[in-house]
Symmetry: C2
């Protein structure tokens, strides 16, 4: 391992851990899984859920609120329109999706080495999204700022184990709501060179995002390539509204990707069963994806599922529990059958801190995320408190787990070296393998190595201050930020972006600033 | 939820959490999994590993040290004996196992309601095993005592989410090595009525365990039933020694179960690859199980695998990492092909405390444990520090996770109620499901509920002292121990057990006491 981080010589345990956290020894632009997904239902049962979703779409339908053009598009496509209610003849929504939605697509990054493939056997890790608060050991929980936002973009840029810069890595509440999207999108463009997500809080903000992407990538390039994905949540149950759908329309028209994601607190926003929640998710997602395909056939869409089981006592959302894991496995299988990329999962937890609850719940969500074969993983790192808070230490701990998944996803090495039969046949009973040529040949890469775990003796750990995982992570993110160096950017492009932002911001009344 | 625990009225959050931790609302004597295991290798590749293991058994062989009767048994069975080295003609070890080892067996408990089925689609949870130290938040890390031992037997007895009392739940180092097995076995017999494990530290201690079981169950009953399982570890690589094998022989002769478990620190005790470790594990386990079948055909054996990847930098064992998980999946598949029950996994971690590292690593081991379909899970609760320490709070946290696995293992409910299609068709878009008759009908049992997780608001959590998962668990185990009431036992049997122990202990010189 190198002791030189970011060009500066540095020492100590935190420096070594930071070096491992950003080690690019196994750097890949995204994970390509080598094993088949874990299945919890038979094809027959999955087909039954599809039939039920079709029944919901046919008999109840979906409300498309304040979106007259959606109603027109669906009417022209053969749906039954009743006020704002759209009812789909059996199979129509599925046909609209399957007719043109790509099974897999490339999201380009401004550094082409960071382009990601979304779909198929690929998995793309992005950081957590959407929290108004941030948390760190030194300052506790507080509202997020643009500095926090930039910090998480920088940390994500520095680690090879997150493949995507994400979107609202935290809400920069120190900037007015109607202006902050400029600073957020610019931060992704300037402080990272990985792929990123666009604004969805208003159709005009989606337009701004596309405009900025045209500056960064060039208009012609953007017409031919997907450089933005964005997150559109349904208003479950069975409602799409003008904000999310308006943003989705902007992106689809520009051939940019949309994550069509029902956000379901099962028991409140759907029936209180795994299959009930999955059926509704499928129905809502089919309607949303069909809309995108009507706007622009072939525009990339990702079927998203975000499901939490509600505490039936307190009403609070719970994470890392059995039922959301089962919903995830079911939805992943349904997305495969439909033939579109799938988004779900992440390192989800209801815990306020990265304690044992935080880690159990996160691991219990990342396991099905990976074993189900999720293609786009929002919330891979940092998520706390049901998404209300973005944790600096949690981010580092989750990135370490993301690194481990790179090793797991490679599957079992069945090469002659992996079988190690020569080693087994040349080693005497009772003699350890430490000095065996096979061991020495595999020394460096034999096993995945955590950047955070303390595997040493109790006595050594105690001597070093008996630090827990959070305390170790605290030193790592600080070291990483201290060592951060921005990726190069064309000065003219940067100036044009800044000029665009200044001009747009100046067009708003002062009272909003 | 009841507020009455152990017959005494009690209040407060800890009491409610303790009540949930011991709730028998979903009480089952063991888990019966409803879904097929996750597979990481094809049948062809698994067959190749079996071929390689046969090559190791044929060409290198296994040393059976200081066990002349093993050599005689194997010679008579057709093996090639060279000194203490036993080489197996291809397929012999497998044939000896498959000829008589049961695919599944019942381990009886003194309370027949707690009998467990070991094998097939069943999973039995037992607490952690073998630690010299214990840890709790109040006193930190210290050597275990017989009081700690009894405490963990009591806690295990009280929770329905551990099905088995385990064995050396911690080492009672305050009792002489040659006497402590009496107190340990008696604690399982007296303070619990669940199935338990026997002593393996000397063949005579295995004989003592069998003798005590004959008192508890009756000699005739014990001849016909398996009431003890015990843990026999190989001296990897490729060595069985007289201590473990001697104990295994005692149990097999008495028709009691033996967990034949190579304990592999991959890179040191096996080649540094997943398949190398699995191949060696299979070879060693086949030899050990074949021995048991030669001692008494039909004696229950369990193929065990305990694999840790070695830190190639420090030599320390690591847990919850990708490679041991892959080994677990491979070994589970090999055990299924062989047709014997499988033991592996648990809530393993190298962390000294139940922090985020402890929880991530534990969850990352329990996930493959369950998804691979392990039949007997030693170390389900309490394990810390690579097995050197048994944690009180960790135990409570792990039991909570064990409870969650009961819910997950039920799989997806595809009944009409589970499909919830009537609910979906009778609910208008935009209207929440909280008051829907389907939700109300499923209110109590809709979702699994953690006994430890805090899912509430940050503000409420902060107001209540910002307690982490460990602090919450600390109150729970104390409350449980305070409420403990022993199961009834026949006074005459108890007297006979105590008389046996006193007589045997008196037969040792004083200097050992």
């Amino acid at each position: 391992m190198t002791e030189v981080v970011g060009g500066r010589r540095s020492g100590g345990r935190a420096a070594r851990q930071a070096a491992r956290a950003i080690s690019n020894a196994v750097s890949v632009p995204y994970i390509t899984r080598k094993m088949s997904p874990f299945e919890v239902l038979s094809e027959e049962h999955l087909s039954l859920i599809e039939e039920n979703a079709d029944t919901v779409l046919e008999q109840v339908g979906i409300d498309f609120r304040d979106t007259p053009e959606a109603l027109t598009l669906f009417r022209d496509a053969g749906a039954d329109i009743d006020g704002e209610r759209v009812r789909f003849p059996r199979g129509l929504a599925r046909q609209l999706v399957q007719a043109s939605a790509p099974a897999q697509f490339t999201q380009v990054a401004r550094n082409p080495e960071n382009n990601v493939e979304i779909g198929g056997m690929n998995t793309v890790f992005a950081p957590a999204y959407g929290s108004p608060f941030v948390y760190d050991l030194d300052n506790g929980r507080r509202y997020g700022t643009i500095e926090d936002f930039r910090n998480f973009v920088k940390l994500t840029y520095m680690t090879p184990f997150l493949h995507h810069s994400g979107g609202t890595v935290c809400e920069p509440v120190d900037i007015a709501v109607n202006k902050r999207h400029y600073d957020m999108v610019y931060a992704h463009m300037r402080y990272s060179d990985k792929a990123f997500m666009g604004s969805v809080t208003h159709p005009s903000r989606a337009e701004d995002t596309v405009a900025m992407a045209r500056i960064l990538f060039g208009s012609d390039f953007l017409e031919e390539n997907t450089a933005i994905v964005s997150l559109a949540n349904a208003n479950s149950p069975l409602v799409w509204d003008s904000t999310m759908l308006g943003a989705a329309k902007v992106y689809a028209e520009a051939n940019q990707g949309v994550l069509i994601t029902p956000f379901i607190l099962a028991g409140a926003m759907s029936p209180a069963t795994v299959v009930g929640a999955a059926t509704q998710t499928l129905a809502e997602a089919l309607a949303g994806m069909a809309f995108c395909q009507l706007v622009r056939p072939g525009a990339p869409v990702i079927l998203g599922s975000f499901a939490s089981s509600m505490s039936m006592q307190s009403g609070a959302p719970t994470f890392g529990t059995p039922e959301p894991a089962l919903i995830l496995y079911v939805m992943a299988a349904l997305a495969r059958r439909l033939g579109v990329p799938f988004r779900s999962g992440g390192a989800l937890t209801a815990s306020k801190i990265a304690d044992a609850q935080g880690a159990y719940e996160s691991a219990n969500t990342m396991q099905p995320t990976m074993l189900a074969g999720v293609n786009f993983v929002l919330h891979t790192a940092g998520w706390l408190e049901g998404g209300l808070s973005m944790g600096y230490e949690k981010f580092i701990l989750d990135v370490d787990q993301a690194a481990a998944w790179h090793a797991f996803a490679k599957g079992v090495d069945m090469t002659p070296n992996g079988q190690a039969i020569d080693a087994l046949l040349t080693n005497e009973p009772g003699v350890h393998f430490l000095g065996h040529p096979h061991t020495l040949a595999n020394f460096e890469d034999a096993f995945w190595r955590s950047s955070n775990a303390d595997n040493g003796s109790f006595e050594q750990w105690d001597l070093e201050g008996a630090k827990d995982a959070n305390q170790r992570a605290n030193a790592v993110w600080k070291k990483m930020l201290a060592d951060y160096e921005p990726p190069p950017i064309d000065d003219a492009v940067d100036a044009e972006l800044l000029e665009f932002i200044e001009r747009k911001k100046d067009s708003f009344p002062d009272s909003f600033s």
